[in-house]
């Protein structure tokens, strides 16, 4: 609820698929190459050129359909969406209208510790358009058609989201699923995921308000800003006694405002009809099942599991679950050691994440394995090495294939847990720090920490700090 209004949000996400070739021709599906060099008569819409459908596009869309619990229409077709624009060389986009590849699904997201189910109306396959380049110095626009025919899936949600935070969680979950399935690069800065946002507001108990559609939303944070702006704009209109009109608006993220593009009356008439250059798509049931079997456990499921089974916080759990490699490492570590979940999570959130951020490497590009991480955690837990020694070892083994026991030997990192040796150190420190001993006895409890610190120093960091503390206590109190 915002200012006494309920907010209703639906999202259309366009994701570029990372196939080798384009959707309807064998040009390379690549970003950032010289203008008009990744084109052919087919994607340029030359007279007489015909499309042929890339099978990977169908497979990827079906995988996404499975991930979002959709019904897969194993018999479906493609349709033409007709409109004129210079970035659309055929003057129609091949898309799906009447029968999409996937429909009637849902996605569970976690918002503020609560699970929410968002309906997924449909997922369909279509082609991307080219790009228009503008320059103030040039009187005209320049057309680069390299992006024409890059495969897209459009994921259309039900109007089930009630806040920009829910929309954000939905978008992040969609993105991490796309990455889990390895079907999209999800590079926001390259525009490989974009979304259109439908927003309306209404008073509780009243029927749904008139919605506006916002286009050109190029990042998830922009979606949040756009939704918040639009919600406030609509509430202001209603509060002033006005009426929200059904229209398409364009989000200008630099100005932080949406502007009207066209009203319902000027709505485009896309004149959809079945694409006659392509026949009906029929996918055999075994193929659909096989694709289903290839779907890993998805990040939204992992997130809930990490919170419920291991007691991780939502923040920590989502950080690990959104990345397939981090969650892979986590799952492998805790599989037989569920009690270590907290420690494993701490290591992934701090040292592993830090290393990956600093080097730009993925976990799979390092030498780190679940076994090694577990071994370090166990050595620390058993008191064989100290925490800081553990970090020293980690920094070595993440880069190099080195045996941990050998590192410990080489760097003499073994923790001293031999009681008599520790007692000798304690006696020496107590003898040399009479003032602190007295302080402690007079109730200054933090003097204990100082004494333990002195012991650690004397042992060159090798003393087992837990045992050390106990011995000192015993000696002073005793």
């Amino acid at each position: 609820m915002v200012k006494g209004y309920e907010v209703v949000i639906g999202l259309e996400v366009h994701a570029e698929l990372n196939t080798e070739s384009k959707i309807y021709c064998d040009c390379k599906n690549a970003f950032g190459l010289e203008v008009n060099t990744q084109v052919c008569p087919i994607c340029m819409g030359m007279p007489g050129a015909l499309p042929t459908l890339n099978e990977k596009v169908v497979d990827y869309a079906i995988k996404m359909g499975h991930a979002l619990n959709c019904t897969i229409n194993n018999v479906c077709k493609q349709d033409r969406k007709n409109y004129f624009y210079p970035d659309l060389p055929k003057a129609y986009q091949i898309s799906q209208a009447e029968v999409p590849l996937c429909e009637n699904g849902h996605l569970d997201i976690l918002v503020d510790g609560e699970e929410r189910r968002i309906g997924v109306t449909r997922i369909h396959i279509e082609e991307d358009a080219g790009k228009l380049l503008h320059s103030d110095k040039f009187d005209g626009s320049l057309v680069d058609l390299n992006r024409c025919g890059v495969p897209l899936i459009e994921i259309v949600s039900e109007p089930d989201m009630r806040s920009s935070a829910e929309a954000h969680a939905y978008l992040e979950t969609i993105k991490s699923i796309l990455q889990y399935l390895n079907i999209s690069d999800c590079k926001m800065q390259e525009g490989s995921i974009r979304c259109d946002v439908n927003v309306s507001v209404h008073k509780p108990g009243e029927s749904l308000g008139t919605r506006s559609e916002m286009k050109n939303v190029n990042s998830f944070s922009a979606a949040v800003r756009g939704i918040d702006f639009e919600v406030n704009r609509q509430i202001e209109i209603l509060e002033a006694g006005g009426e929200v009109i059904q229209e398409t608006r364009r989000w200008d993220d630099t100005k932080g405002e949406s502007l009207s593009m066209r009203s319902k009356e000027d709505a485009q008439d896309y004149r959809y009809f079945p694409e006659p250059d392509l026949l009906t798509i029929v996918i055999d049931k075994e193929r659909i099942e096989k694709l289903k079997s290839e779907i890993p456990e998805l990040p939204n499921k992992k997130l809930v599991r990490y919170v419920k089974e291991f007691g991780l916080s939502q923040k920590d759990a989502s950080f690990i679950s959104e990345d397939i490699e981090k969650s892979g490492l986590f799952d492998e570590c805790v599989k037989d050691n569920p009690k270590l979940a907290k420690s494993v999570s701490n290591w992934i959130l701090s040292d592993v994440a830090k290393y990956c951020n600093e080097t730009g490497k993925k976990i799979s590009e390092t030498k780190l394995t679940a076994d090694k991480l577990l071994y370090i955690i166990k050595l620390i837990g058993d008191g064989k090495i100290s925490n800081s020694a553990g970090k020293t070892i980690f920094e070595i083994i993440i880069d190099k294939d080195k045996d941990i026991d050998e590192i410990i030997k080489e760097k003499s990192l073994v923790q001293v847990s031999d009681a008599s040796a520790l007692e000798a150190i304690a006696d020496e420190v107590i003898a040399n720090n009479g003032k602190s001993v007295n302080d402690y006895k007079n109730g200054k409890t933090n003097a204990l920490g100082y004494l333990v610190g002195q012991c650690m120093k004397a042992s060159k960091g090798k003393a087992n700090p837990g045992m050390m503390k106990e011995i000192i206590l015993k000696k002073i109190d005793g």
Binding site: P41, M44, G45, M46, P47, G48, A49, L50, P51, T52, L53, R80, N82, F84, P86, P89, K90, A91, Y92, V143, D269, R271, Y272, F273, P274, P276, D277, L278, L279
Partner: protein, 485 residues
């Protein structure tokens, strides 16, 4: 008999027997073009230099003893909506007046691989929309049997050039009768193959779900030979069929014993000229006398096919022709003050009236609120039409009808009356709606000496049955008779 008058089959034998060469044949064709093209006007673009060069190459290959296709060295003309790399492909439109494709249609690759000699690009109705070749932006092709009359359309240049000896065989395209109707008017043989039999890749689309490329020749054998060259699955055309390709010529039979012929009563109604009706019945009788059996059949939805055809073809055309916007190729208006102004001027100046009518009709039937009543209904009628043919072909092998209700009309006679023009397609469009193969073969002349066409319709992928029937008939009545030019 001059070389240009001979059939591809005869010329192929002569080349094989070293009685002539490709260069001699090609020269004979271009001499003929030089002497009659002024009267016939069937070509938009001639390919003289390249044709002679290619003929020399083929002769060299032959003298080296290379094993070549039976049609190697034989001249062929190409309808100007089939993309030819480096050779202007205009669709007889101002819109594509200077368009030179950077790629070959798959059928052109096939023709090049068969070492045939492309004589040039043939005139047509603009973007294949028309039944008289009068909507061409460039010229009006004349019927070689009467220069005051149209050659039919839209493949008017393809039929007229073959009838006039300006090429040996040609390729046309047929969306609603555009091969068969001009073949009938010009007294030649034309075949519209089963939808999917021939690749459409590189055929400039009019109505994608109905368009098929097919051969035109003076004899059934020539058409059979050319059909073998262009048939086959193409991985660049998703609608092309993976059907077996017979060698139509070697399998060609010359008798019709046991053939079951169906005569659909709906095709012999009031609109059919009595000369035409008589000639078609006479042809059927000849087939019957030679061993075929004949029965009357009914195709009740024929009545709706013309509507379904104009809705579907125009809808697809409105979308297929949207790409001509002055951005990537083709005509662009000279002056404009905005993007939309550029689009509208370019398209209004670049297209002729018939094309505009079809685009308007197609846009209308797809527009919001009308889609279900027109386009969708027409597509559902199409299913019904197909189902009726499926039923009929359980009982018969070939259906015989007139190709066109009358013989060639005069230039200008129907140009201002689109409905009258559309009505000439009544016997042919249904076949495209059903995706079936059909041929037109000459079956006599009317009282003015104008050729009459017999349409043979077969079941899907049964081109051989049609060719066999046509061949038997041709053997009985004799081959093509040249017009006096």
């Amino acid at each position: 008999m001059e070389l240009y008058e001979k059939s591809a089959f005869e010329l192929s034998q002569m080349i094989k027997n070293k009685q002539t060469s490709s260069v001699e044949i090609t020269k004979s064709i271009f001499d003929r073009i030089d002497s009659v093209e002024e009267k016939v006007e069937s070509y938009v673009t001639l390919n003289r230099d390249n044709a002679l060069k290619k003929a020399e190459e083929v002769d060299k290959k032959l003298s080296n003893g290379d094993k070549l296709s039976p049609l190697a060295g034989i001249p062929i003309g190409i309808k100007d909506n089939i993309s030819t790399k480096g050779l202007r492909t205009t669709c007889s439109s101002k819109m594509l007046e200077n368009y030179v494709p950077p790629f070959n249609a798959t059928v052109i690759e096939n023709i090049n691989n068969a070492d045939m000699i492309i004589t040039g690009k043939l005139n047509m109705d603009e973007f294949a929309m028309g039944s008289s070749t009068e909507t061409s932006y460039f010229k009006k092709t004349k019927n070689p049997f009467d220069a005051e009359r149209i050659p039919g359309g839209s493949s008017g240049g393809s039929a007229a050039s073959v009838a006039a000896g300006e090429t040996v065989v040609s390729l046309g395209s047929d969306t609603g009768g555009s091969i068969r109707q001009p073949a009938a008017y010009c007294g030649v043989v034309g075949l519209k193959p089963t939808y999917g039999r021939v690749s459409r890749f590189g055929l400039v689309a009019f109505a994608s779900s109905l368009d098929q490329i097919g051969p035109i020749g003076r004899t059934v054998k020539d058409v059979a030979m050319l059909q073998s060259v262009i048939s086959g699955h193409d991985r660049y055309d998703a609608t092309s069929a993976n059907a077996e390709i017979p060698d139509f010529l070697t399998k060609l039979k010359s008798d019709v014993k046991g053939l079951k012929i169906g005569i659909p009563k709906e095709y012999f109604g009031g609109g059919i000229d009595s000369n035409v009706k008589d000639a078609v019945f006479n042809a059927v009788k000849i087939l019957e006398q030679n061993g075929a059996s004949v029965k009357e059949i009914s195709l009740p939805s024929t009545n709706y096919a013309l509507s379904a055809y104009y809705i579907i073809s125009s809808a697809e055309a409105s979308s297929n022709l949207a790409r001509y916007d002055g951005v990537k190729y083709g005509y662009r208006a000279k002056e404009f003050d905005s993007l939309i102004d550029m689009y509208e001027k370019t398209r209004s100046e670049g297209f002729g009236d018939e094309v505009k009518r079809r685009i308007l009709l197609g846009t209308f039937v797809l527009s919001s609120g009308f889609f279900d009543a027109y386009y969708k209904k027409a597509k559902l009628v199409q299913r019904r039409v197909s189902a009726e043919f499926d039923e009929v072909f359980k009982d018969v092998d070939v259906i015989c009808t007139p190709t066109v209700p009358s013989t060639a009309f005069k230039i200008g006679e129907n140009i201002d009356n689109p409905l009258k023009m559309y009505a000439t397609d009544i016997c042919t469009v249904t076949i495209n709606i059903a995706g079936l193969p059909a041929m037109s073969i000459p079956c006599g002349y009317d009282d003015k000496g104008l050729p009459i066409g017999l349409q043979l319709v077969g079941n899907k992928f049964c081109e051989q049955t049609l060719l066999n029937t046509a061949n038997a008939y041709e053997n009985i009545i004799g081959e093509f008779k040249s017009p006096l030019l």
